[in-house]
């Protein structure tokens, strides 16, 4: 079970930090920092720099991403920003714009 879930319809303006999994279906503007996985659902709109162990994007993300393990952009997902991650995948049908740094 995910530690934190931002449901659809919910908006957070500010910083989120923690040490557990975070799932976002709603809106987030600010910054997101966790030591665990981050999942951005299909309905989510995120305008935030994201730092986490891993990131899975099915919705929209605008911001720089730093992941200690991996970043996956799912089909239908959209990511605009620079990515720093050891592993990085872009599914067919996903959109992405930004720099990639896989030198971790």
């Amino acid at each position: 079970m995910a530690g934190t879930v931002i449901g659809e319809g919910l908006t957070i303006e500010g910083d989120i930090s923690g040490d557990e999994e975070i799932v976002i279906h709603g809106n987030l503007r600010g910054r997101l920092t966790t030591s665990d996985a981050v999942t951005v659902g299909g309905t989510a709109v995120v305008g935030a720099d994201i730092t986490g162990a891993s990131l899975s994007v099915a919705g929209q993300v605008t911001g720089d991403v730093t992941a200690s393990e991996r970043v996956d952009i799912q089909a239908g997902g959209k990511l605009v920003g620079d990515i720093k991650a050891a592993r990085f995948t872009i599914a067919d049908g996903a959109s992405f714009k930004g720099n990639v740094d896989m030198e971790l």
Binding site: G3, G7, G9, T11, I12, G14, G18, E20, G30
Partner: protein
């Protein structure tokens, strides 16, 4: 939409949280929370900021105002420093609250209105109370309303001579009139008691009974403060000296 959200125990949110749906806070929120659904703040939850939602259930700590459109329930272990306002407020034993509590909205939702929302309760109670009063002491109010009966009851109580003569001795009227000058006044005093109820009855039946009682105190109130001539105090002082 109505999807529920959770802020986990290991998560800190510094900023505002708002939107639809319900929210469970097990971690920390430093900022205002404003949702349309229910809010549950678990025992590990810490909020520094105002929280508003439909039904707030608090078991953690909140430093800020709580506003529940339906209810605010503080469970055992809750600590709230801030104002609480909701139609229903519940504070369980073991919960700490510091601040202003207001139970607004529907009056008889909880038994608490007696203290917090005293007015609605009193408004409801008033008609009955006054009915009882009238039953107990019918002399001033009730007879005044029942016009034909009134003179019979009122008269013996106050000026004995005026009415009996007026009924029995017709020729003596001149005298009685002179004496009964106060008597016509009494009907006058009673009439307003009779008149206002029908006038006021249609809009606010609750306040009708209040009028007859208010009529009595309308007479010049007894002076509360003894009237002292100018300089009396000074004289007294001087006399003491």
């Amino acid at each position: 939409m109505a999807e529920s959200s959770v802020i986990g125990a290991g998560t800190i949110v510094s900023g505002h949280v708002r939107g639809d749906g319900s929210l469970e806070i097990l971690g920390r929120v430093e900022g205002d929370v404003n949702v349309t659904g229910n809010v549950v703040i678990g025992a590990s939850g810490r909020v520094r900021g105002s929280v508003s939602g439909a039904e707030l259930t608090i078991a953690g700590h909140v430093q800020g105002d709580l506003r529940g459109t339906l209810a605010v329930l503080l469970e055992s272990g809750a600590r709230v420093a801030g104002d609480i306002s909701s139609p229903r407020v519940g504070i369980a034993p073991g919960a700490l609250a510091r601040g202003h509590v207001q139970t607004d909205g529907e009056p008889a939702a909880v038994a608490r209105p007696a203290s917090a929302a005293a007015r609605p309760a009193a408004a409801v109670a008033r008609p009955d109370a006054l009915r009882d009063l009238r039953r107990a002491a019918p002399a001033p109010a009730a007879p005044a309303r029942l016009a034909p009966v009134a003179p019979a009851r009122v008269a013996p109580a106050r000026p004995n001579p005026p009415i009996q003569p007026s009924v029995a001795k017709v020729p003596a009227r001149a005298e009685t009139r002179a004496e009964t000058r106060p008597e016509p006044r009494k009907p006058d005093a009673a009439k307003p008691a009779v008149a206002p109820p029908p006038a006021a009855a249609p809009p606010e039946p609750e306040f009708v009974p209040v009028r007859p009682l208010k009529v009595e105190p309308r007479r010049p109130p007894p002076p509360v403060v003894p009237v002292l001539g100018k300089g009396v105090k000074a004289k007294k002082k001087k006399s003491h000296d």
